[in-house]
Amino acid sequence: MAVQEPALPLGGVAPDRTGKYRTDHLMVAEMIPAGSKVLDVGCGDGELLQLLESRGIDGRGIELSREGVNRCVAKGLAVVQGDADTDLVNYPDDAFDYVILSQTLQATRQPKPVLENLLRIGRRAIVSFPNFGFWKMRLQLLVGGHMPRTENLPATWYDTPNIHFCTIKDFVQLCDEINVKMERAVALDLYGRPVPLNLPWWVWNMFGEQGVFLLSRGGAGK
């Protein structure tokens, strides 16, 4: 299947230099207009939700770890303990404007149904994930001969919660397969800077340390 290039690549996002928020979080926040109702699936300790709330976005969260949930509630965030793989089916259609899956896709047991559920519950979905096609990853496997580990993904292969790694290319293919439209896409390099947009697609897949995608329902005429 041919990998199609995203129609509307993200542009003009100024990375935050204050260091208060992660660049990928800022990038996600830039994609969401104030007043939207948002569900953050796998919201961790609520850093992104706090950023969203500070921008007038009505945020909710689901988090698997009890510690994460308790920290979120302590911050006054509306977060419930739950599992993306099993709990999303209970959410009604169109319950949210945006559903976010930030750095969590690779930890789900069933990425495909999870992605489908995201776009059923929300009118749009924003998905970010570490790119396994990143050159450092490739190098570790190719030269080192071991499963890649990075600063952001420090766990060893046997104790990592991440079970479904993919590359940007793989993800684009999955979106194509389940008829998901990519509205915006951006790759961030090792330093959290957007990879220049005029570069060809394979460069993203090689030099993007992670990908951030804004998705909506319905791809090309299916």
Partner: protein, 401 residues
């Protein structure tokens, strides 16, 4: 001689408890014949009274009121000495200046539920028609009845909207009923260790307790006041059974293990050889001092009947549709009376009805009773939830600074 009746007779007399039931030491709101309480069983109860306590001060725009809903065997004496036992209030750890329910910021109200025995009209109160205690002539009440009575109390106190309704166990059921029945009157809700319906297992435990009360020869079909008796042994057994369900195996083991009470070897009798037996007998004995046996029957029944979904064609989410109230649901890992799975079902329903809900499961081995104990994680979450709700409500500066 084996001491099989080691549950001591109460030292607080029937007369003391009867007096507290009719003329409580706390404030009372009385409702005359013109303001009946419409009960689910179809009866209009009038006249009736609700006894309550308040702590802190109501602010100028009346926006800082928190209603505490008490659990089955508790009462309105949240943060003051109990008039019968002289013991500290049951939630002093939670309520007071600087505590999570900060009396410097919030106006705290707790009423004795209708059907209770600490000053609200219940089976221990005097029936004005006969001049005797109501006993089993008192109509069967429900959780919605309790909440309806509380709403009338709040009308009387001039409070339209509650900043928060909070409570654990039976109190949590009232919190949920409040949000389902009066969503526009509840800004935020903190249901703890509870469920939207009483499970079959819990009904079974309650039936065990009721049967223990009714099997006591001193019960006299509920007319024990006239005989100057009180089925204290049956009630103590009911309390002992209940108390076991409030704890956990791990907590009992940590506290008592299989240790002996004041002895090295078993006595080969039915004495309280084990510390855990002695503890339970003490729990039973001290409970009957302050509680009325008939009230126990009525309140357990109210919990048994509770099922929010049933009142909304079996669809739980329907009960909370379009609700604006902010929720924080809390459960405890070792609570087997109201296990986390039941809180989770509630949270799913709230999510499906698009309510703003947080949910935290707190890890503790202390069982259902954890909400009454020193569990810092629970305090932190309650405090943080109230603070963020307070910000949304414009309460950030508080009533008293």
């Amino acid at each position: 001689m084996t001491n099989v009746h080691s549950i001591s007779s109460p030292s607080i007399l029937n007369e003391d408890r009867a007096h507290e039931a009719d003329h409580p030491t706390s404030p009372v709101a009385t409702f005359g014949m013109d303001q009946p309480l419409r009960l689910d069983c179809g009866i209009d109860l009038a006249p009736f009274q609700i006894a309550y306590q308040t702590y802190g001060e109501l602010n100028a725009d009346r926006s800082n009121a928190i209603l505490i809903c008490h659990a089955l065997t508790l009462d309105q004496h949240v943060a003051n000495l109990h008039p019968l036992t002289g013991k500290a209030g049951w939630w002093e750890i939670m309520v007071g200046p600087g505590r999570p329910l900060d009396t410097d910021r919030y106006f705290i109200i707790c009423s004795n539920v209708i059907g209770g025995c600490m000053g609200s009209t219940g089976p221990a109160s005097t029936d004005p028609a006969t001049g005797k205690a109501w006993g089993l002539d008192f109509p069967v009440i429900t959780i919605p009845d309790m909440v309806r009575a509380q709403a009338m109390l709040l009308d009387r106190l001039g409070i339209e909207t509650l900043f928060c309704v909070i409570g654990g166990s039976m109190g949590g059921m009232q919190v949920l009923q409040w949000t389902a029945a009066y969503p526009e009157r509840v800004f935020s809700a903190l249901p703890v260790a509870c469920s939207t319906r009483h499970s079959a297992q819990n009904i079974a435990f309650h039936e065990l307790g009721r049967q223990a009360v009714m099997a006591d020869p001193d019960w006299h079909h509920g007319r024990y006041f006239e005989r100057s008796t009180h089925p204290h042994r049956g009630l103590a057994v009911a309390r002992m059974a209940g108390h076991i369900t409030y704890l956990s195996d791990a907590a009992l083991h940590r506290k008592f293990g299989r240790r002996m009470q004041d002895r090295e070897l078993p006595t080969f009798s039915f004495d309280a050889d084990f510390q855990v037996e002695s503890y339970l007998r003490y729990q039973g004995s001290s409970f009957v001092e302050r509680f009325d046996a008939n009230s126990y029957l009525y309140l357990t029944r109210a919990m048994d009947y509770f099922d929010i979904a049933a009142d909304h064609s079996g669809v739980l989410a329907q009960a909370f549709l379009g609700i604006k109230t902010r929720f924080c649901v809390v459960s405890f890992t070792s609570d087997w009376l109201f296990p986390t799975s039941e809180s989770r079902a509630l949270v799913h329903a709230l999510n499906a009805s698009s309510a703003r809900v947080s949910f935290a499961e707190i890890e503790t081995d202390r069982g259902h009773d954890a909400f009454l104990l020193d569990v810092p994680e629970f305090f932190d979450i309650s405090r943080a939830f109230l603070e963020s709700a307070g910000k949304a409500r414009g309460l950030s500066n508080g009533a008293g600074g």
